[in-house]
């Protein structure tokens, strides 16, 4: 908000995000879909909010996560909850399917993109409906892509090789979770805006399950670190 008499009152367009969430990795497995995200919201390069729950349950069988501007994420969660409440309003017990949410989000993102005031988000919608697994990515422009695996942010660069080598769409839940944990290990090492606390959530026939945050496995007691081989003073 700019407190300047000329500009206050004019609508601003989101040109860069302020408080951002990190990478999201989502994988389909034999009985459903699992999503992993870290619990950090960065304020630029500062790790400002380290214990944020970023996996939102939108309905009985749908999960929503995104990376990007966190306030936009919070707003979208509200918008999606509004749709879910419509079943109450119309007294017909008809709940939107995960695909309905995905498409709605795509239309919403596209509309905001057309006004050059985007929701600064890479969105991931995951769900399980009528025996079918559902996973989709909606990006900042409103592009809608259904897929068996989705990565956002730095995960798209560092993690696709791991996913490709160790995951397939019919693996078990535990195998899929392990792949996600491996990915976040790598991200914590290589992505400056990553954090070592992650949270997993999955959706299956029974519904949505969001797990407690867990710490990424890291190993720092390498001999090289202990002896500080790289830091020996060079003498002429």
């Amino acid at each position: 908000m700019i407190f300047n008499s000329e500009l206050s009152g004019q609508q601003q367009h989101t040109t860069s995000p302020v408080v951002t969430g990190g990478s999201v990795i989502a994988l389909v497995y034999k009985g459903g879909v699992v999503i992993g995200t870290d619990t950090l919201c960065s304020y630029g390069s500062m790790a400002a909010f380290k214990n944020v729950e970023k996996i939102a349950q939108v309905s009985k069988n749908t999960l929503y996560v995104s990376s990007g501007e966190f306030s936009d994420f919070q707003q979208v969660v509200k918008e999606l909850a509004k749709i879910d409440r419509s079943a109450l309003q119309y007294d017909d017990g008809v709940h939107p399917s995960p695909r309905d949410y995905g498409n709605f989000l795509a239309r919403l993102s596209y509309k905001k993109r057309c006004k050059i005031n985007p929701l600064y988000l890479q969105n991931v919608i995951a769900g399980f409906h009528n025996g079918e697994r559902y996973l989709a990515l909606v990006d900042i422009y409103g592009t809608y892509l259904e897929s068996n695996f989705v990565t956002t942010g730095f995960a798209s660069y560092f993690c696709k090789a791991i996913i490709s080598n160790y995951w397939n769409e019919n693996c078990t839940l535990d195998q899929a979770k392990q792949v996600i944990r491996e990915c976040f290990k790598v991200l914590f090492c290589r992505d400056c805006r990553a954090h070592d606390m992650i949270q997993l959530g999955y959706v299956d026939e029974q519904g949505v399950h969001i797990e407690q945050a867990e710490r990424v496995e890291t190993k720092w007691d390498f001999n090289g670190f202990k002896t500080r081989a790289n830091e020996k003073l060079h003498t002429q």
Partner: protein, 248 residues
């Protein structure tokens, strides 16, 4: 209906608690030619009798597709029906654009009912003079709704509205217990039999004055063509609902 006091506009109640303008609007529905709907566990069938204003004119269509999964049959003022039809089609398109899935049927009927109710609570407006039979399929199942100028709506297993519809309803009361398990062909024949009860003595059903629409779980809304109608009307001679009971 005789003329009453307290019937000048929608915003005046009668001492008996009636809104006469709304009741008069429902009379307009009763003046329209008969249309009926009936459903089984997989199909909904709409049948209507089309009127011909004069020998030189065509027959007035009474069934309109709203979306692949929904259709209406109208009785009453056709012009008012056009307005509601356009509204329903627009809502379905918008829903499809936003969610890529079909508009839930009950919800759309609710919206139409709300729109209709608005017209009954204003000094400057009149109620819609048309009743709709809305046939639709959605994840909740197979539906048949009736909407009223009053803004009420009801879900039915089978219903007939319009002129001489009581005769068709009487037919339904005798046979509706068979509809749930009926095949599509049986359903259409039941519908045509019900219409036959409602026509005048000197009229007869033919492929020109009858309209049949079919909607199914795996069947998008479809009007039967002239040849198919002819075949069904021929089969009507031999149709005996009693034989259906023996099958069960």
């Amino acid at each position: 209906m005789l003329k009453h006091l307290y019937d000048t506009d929608c915003v005046t109640w009668s001492p008996q608690g009636k809104l006469f303008q709304v009741e008069y609007a429902m009379e307009a529905v009763k003046q329209g030619s008969i249309c009926l709907g009936l459903k089984s566990s997989d199909y909904v069938v709409l049948c209507s009798l089309k009127r011909q204003p004069s020998e030189l004119a065509g027959y007035q269509e009474k069934q309109f597709k709203i979306d692949d999964h929904m259709a209406i049959a109208i009785a009453g003022l056709t012009a008012d029906a056009r307005v509601l039809c356009k509204y329903m089609r627009t809502e379905c398109l918008e829903y499809k654009y936003t969610y890529e899935s079909h508009h839930p049927v009950g919800r759309l009927v609710f919206k139409v009912a709300e729109k209709s109710q608005h017209k009954t609570q204003s000094g400057a407006k009149r109620p819609y003079g048309v009743g709709l039979l809305v046939a639709g399929i959605d994840p909740n199942g197979v539906h048949l709704f009736e909407t009223c100028p009053s803004g009420n709506y009801y879900e039915y297993k089978c219903q007939a509205i319009g002129s001489r519809s009581q005769a068709a309803r009487t037919y339904f009361e005798s046979w509706f217990h068979l509809f749930e398990k009926s095949t599509l062909e049986q359903l259409v024949l039941h519908g045509l039999s019900a219409i036959k009860k409602a026509i005048m003595e000197d009229e007869e059903l033919n492929e020109k004055n009858v309209e049949v629409g079919i909607l199914g779980k795996n069947q998008k809304f479809l009007h039967l063509n002239a040849q198919e109608l002819k075949d069904y009307i021929t089969k009507l001679e031999a149709f005996n609902p009693n034989s259906q009971i023996q099958q069960e």
